[in-house]
């Protein structure tokens, strides 16, 4: 407090100007992943010839589109203090079902709408159990992971279903628009929308509120259960979109697609500085996190290292980035 003892008299503001360093520390999570991203890019640019070429960079964005899209939605989920482990299974289910739907003669736009709706309904069901029946998200979506993958396997008998290469459906995964791959374009649109919703809307504010103090947010008159329900609808729908894009790019729907996808997504989100405890999320961080995961996978292959190095290196990077986050920046971590 200031020297003036009476709190009711007016005071000049006691705040010094916010310095650059304050801002860096306040955004510690984003800063440490930005650092890592730049270091990774620099490293592969120097050690390989192919990395820093336009085709390769566009290829990275094209391949990471499903990851980026689902990670954006997962940022909302994790910021509420939840988790969605079922996204890889939803991706597999919608990839196979979209192939099956096209085979059954359903027009492609309808097939896409059906798949997105299916993802939304899966999210709705899981979200209902989490928000209204108060079952921990980890358990509900772990069950979902198993059940939904099971359905995908059951429907295909474990085989992959081909998609007619002449179908306009495959353009979603393969077309180039204005020199940018279509999946990348979709990802950019989704990310922009997610950024605005997360930072500038009431819904985004309540997502943070639920993660920070759900009871306080409820007492402020917010329907917190509906907020929680919606984040799982979002992640289900995003996973379905990822499934559609993946099957369109590969030209087939495989029930084995997206094994371990949920872990990549969660790694990307957590790398980006979003706290698993909830209440703190950053979409910029998530984008950087997802791109870092993608750049690592791509760069290690270009370095002619065994692709089996990827999970090892990714794991280490997660640990180091988050350690930096806790120690150096004291961001991301719980404040008090």
């Amino acid at each position: 407090m200031s020297s003036e003892p009476n709190a009711y008299s007016s005071h000049p503001p006691r705040m010094r100007e916010t310095t650059m360093l304050d801002k860096v520390i306040a955004n510690g999570g984003v800063m440490s992943i930005a650092l890592f991203f730049v270091v990774c890019c620099f490293f592969f640019a120097v050690t390989t010839d192919a990395f820093l070429t336009a085709p390769n960079l566009l290829n990275i964005i094209r391949q990471s589109a499903p990851l980026l899209i689902v990670a954006a939605a997962m940022t909302f989920v994790i910021t509420t203090g939840g988790i969605d482990l079922s996204v890889g299974s939803v991706l597999a289910l919608t990839a196979t079902l979209s192939a099956a739907a096209l085979q059954a003669g359903i027009p492609w736009p309808l097939a896409i709408i059906l798949m997105l709706a299916l993802g939304g309904v899966v999210g709705l069901i899981q979200g209902y159990f989490i928000a209204y029946e108060k079952i921990p998200a980890f358990i509900v979506t772990l069950a979902g992971l198993s059940v939904i993958r099971g359905f995908a396997l059951l429907i295909t008998g474990g085989y992959s279903i081909p998609i007619e290469p002449t179908s306009p459906f495959v353009t979603i995964g393969r077309a180039w628009v204005l020199g940018i791959p279509a999946p990348a374009l979709i990802a950019i649109v989704v990310l922009l929308a997610a950024y605005v919703v997360f930072n500038e809307t009431h819904f985004g504010r309540y997502v943070t509120g639920v993660g920070a103090n759900a009871e306080a947010t409820r007492r402020a008159g917010v329907n917190t259960r509906r907020v929680i329900l919606w984040v799982y609808i979002l992640s289900g729908t995003a996973a379905a979109a990822a499934g559609v894009i993946l099957s369109a790019r590969l030209g087939s729907g495989s029930s084995n697609a997206g094994q371990g996808f949920e872990l990549d997504v969660i790694a990307a989100v957590v790398l980006g500085g979003t706290s698993l405890f909830g209440g703190r999320g950053s979409l910029v961080g998530t984008i950087l996190g997802a791109l870092t995961v993608a750049v690592l996978a791509n760069g290690l292959i270009l370095s002619h290292l065994s692709p089996f190095f990827t999970p090892i290196v990714t794991g280490f990077i997660i640990l180091v980035a988050i350690w930096l986050n806790f120690r150096l920046f004291k961001g991301g971590a719980k404040g008090r």
Partner: protein, 274 residues
């Protein structure tokens, strides 16, 4: 405040059970417009619970609530807010990772439309937050600061500012001064006087009994979930209240101490507030 006036709040037969524990047992509460009611009782007596029932945060097992003579049954805090009932919660109910302005406006953030899409109007929110805080004389360096970086007393001030700034008709304060320094306590008491003069009904829950005698019109004592006594402030003194709270003649040194403390402040205050 004559008997012919309609009560602002009338709660009757409120019961609430948590598992084996009967938190509220046929409790009631009456509050006239502009009245300041002191709610006291032992730890666990049910003061917070009955006020949460009124603020919609807890749904009672039974009992009726009337606001301005009309029966209501709140199923959510949003409904109580719509009825202009505001509460400072004992645990403050702040979101640590949201900034000061965001906490002040939580649940009723101003909107602006961009291309038809409703968005947060952060600029307006921060402007109005600054006004709200300076109107209440609350010193917070920056409305963009996250609440987790504020001191305990500053956090409490934010919670009070939030409840007092949206034109409440009933203001419930559950231990609003627990973390406050001397001057800030005075400020809160002054705030209570000001709003009650404007016709706002106030429920003040506090363990600082001397404060009750500075602002309250009436004191209601709770014990194990029931109302046990009610006194007009001019008919009682601090020793009496202490005995009512503990339920028997209580000769603890602290009680006598508080009482003598009060006697001095008491006479002075009576004169000042008259």
């Amino acid at each position: 405040m004559t008997d012919t006036q309609i009560s602002r709040v009338r709660m009757t037969g409120i019961s609430k059970r948590y598992g084996a524990l009967q938190s509220l047992d046929n409790a009631s509460l009456n509050l006239m417009p502009g009245e300041v009611l002191g709610l006291v009782g032992d730890n666990g007596a049910g003061k917070s619970t009955i006020s949460k029932v009124l603020s919609g945060a807890v749904i009672p097992d039974s009992g009726t609530i009337e606001i301005d003579g009309r029966p209501v049954s709140f199923t959510s805090p949003a409904e109580a807010r719509a009825a202009r009932i505001e509460m400072v919660y004992q645990d403050l109910a702040l979101c640590d990772t949201i900034d000061v302005a965001g906490n002040l406006f939580l649940g009723r953030e101003p909107k602006r439309h961009i291309a038809g899409v409703p968005m947060l109007d952060k600029k307006l929110m921060h402007e109005r937050a600054r006004d709200m805080l300076s109107n209440l004389g609350i010193v917070i360096p920056d409305t963009w600061m996250k609440v987790e970086n504020l001191s305990g007393g500053q956090r409490q001030s934010i919670a009070i500012g939030r409840a007092a700034s949206f034109d409440p008709s009933v203001l419930i304060m559950d231990e609003p001064t627990a973390a406050l320094a001397v001057a800030e306590v005075e400020a809160v008491l002054e705030l209570i006087r000001t709003v009650s003069r404007r016709g706002v009904s106030v429920i003040l829950i506090t363990h600082r009994l001397q404060d009750l005698f500075l602002v309250c019109d009436r004191i209601q004592v709770m014990y194990e979930g029931r109302n046990v006594a009610e006194r007009r402030i001019e008919d009682t003194n601090i020793e009496d209240v202490v005995n009512l709270i503990v339920g028997r003649k209580f000769a603890a040194r602290s009680a006598g101490h508080q009482a003598s403390h009060n006697q001095a402040g008491h006479t002075q205050e009576r004169g000042a507030s008259a």
